[in-house]
Homo-oligomer: 246 residues x 2
């Protein structure tokens, strides 16, 4: 990804400086830096923005201010609007995930993309929505749909980050150690089962196969490392020695 | 989904009442209601929480407070911890999307599930992480990874909402009207092309097929409704009448 491949965030008539700072923080958390404001209620710069930016002040310093929504998106090739309301318009409505998949794909083709957010009081007006290609509807609770503007920007920026830097759904973090080999696991099972044969836990021959299988499954699910195998074998040795003393 | 199928949000040592209120708002935005606090710095109840809850005060009134993390999760069957730091532990690390897929699936089997969040100052300590089955890593900017706690809760609650109430990736909203039939679209093309033949726009026979195809594709992409077809035909009629006057 080059520097030009980014998503522009446009806030129309934002009210509270604190929220604008919080938007900047959420943007930088997910690698976004370009923030534009249309007619901010309290003017710009706004000293109330920096504290909630919590380290993202650079974004505030580079904010661009516009007097119309049209001007704020003039150089962009593709802009979607976030809105919880239907606006009675004939338009595509995307989930955040699908919208950002489209926008990231478009940005990847060296097109400039952006997302438009309405202010705290009543969101985007229909005229602003009509300037955009499509709507993004955040799947919120119908009985309590109004998100804080910084929360809404955080979700969109998060979905952008997923598109531009995909990560595996699950990583099993093993640090500097190594997973046990199947042989080490087998030796552990042999140690455990021999100890349990001796202690009488597996004394019923008809139940033994099921009990052994259940025990093995517990430890299969634990994805043991070689160090953990050594630890568990130490535990068995310690417990059997303890029993011997009793 | 029944009332018991929910996700419990646990905040460990949260500091600012304002953030706790903001967490409550984000939770209710995505249909979550059960909030637990472990050792809130400024005690509980905290009068600074309600303003930022912005309508989600009911959640604040039903907050449960605990003195240990262990107690806060005692009745839960499955708990994941959110953390940006690796904690040098041998543990699975999930994306928010995959983590919530697992937790929603578990909740669907009538198991109680929760997610643990650390406080504003330094997140979760390793002892708290060790009480949890796995980690959730929000894919944030490595150079600026620390999310506001309410933003983090909003993302997790959003991913929960996606699991429990999936919505189509794209809906083409047509309101009370109907999409044009293929016949109506064909009549529109015939009207447009006859007018352009007459005006001379399509006068080069070797270019005509390509020009016609390109024009048709523009309007194919627009997913026109029957009302919009009538509007566009009115536009053509109006323009050709205007030309006639000239």
């Amino acid at each position: 990804m080059t520097d030009t491949t980014t998503l522009v965030i446009i806030l129309v008539e934002p009210q509270l400086g604190r929220n604008i700072g919080s938007v900047a923080r959420a943007m930088l958390n997910f690698g976004l830096t370009r923030l534009r404001l249309v007619r901010p209620r309290d003017g710009w710069p706004n000293p109330e923005a920096a504290p909630s930016a919590a380290g993202a002040e650079q974004i505030l310093q580079e904010v661009e201010v516009f007097s119309t929504t049209q001007d704020a998106m003039a150089d962009l090739n593709r802009v979607f609007a976030t809105s919880a309301r239907p606006h009675d318009m004939i338009k595509s409505v995307y989930t955040p995930h699908m919208a950002l998949e489209h926008l990231a794909e478009t940005a990847h083709q060296n097109q400039k993309v952006g997302v438009l957010f309405g202010g705290e009081r009543c969101g985007l007006c229909s005229e602003d929505v009509a300037l955009c290609e499509a709507l993004i509807k955040i799947p919120s609770n119908a009985a309590f749909p109004s998100l804080n503007i910084a929360h809404a920007v955080a979700l969109i920026a998060y979905e952008w980050a997923i598109q531009v830097a995909p990560t595996p759904s699950q990583v099993f973090r093993i640090g500097h150690t190594s997973l046990a080999t199947r042989a080490e696991l087998g030796q552990f099972f042999a140690h455990l089962e021999a100890s349990l044969d001796k202690s009488g836990f597996l004394r019923h021959p008809n139940k033994r196969p099921t009990m052994v299988r259940n025990l093995r499954n517990i430890f299969q699910r634990a994805h043991l490392t070689e160090q953990e195998i050594r630890t568990l074998r130490g535990v068995i040795t310690s417990l059997t020695t303890e029993v011997g003393r009793g």
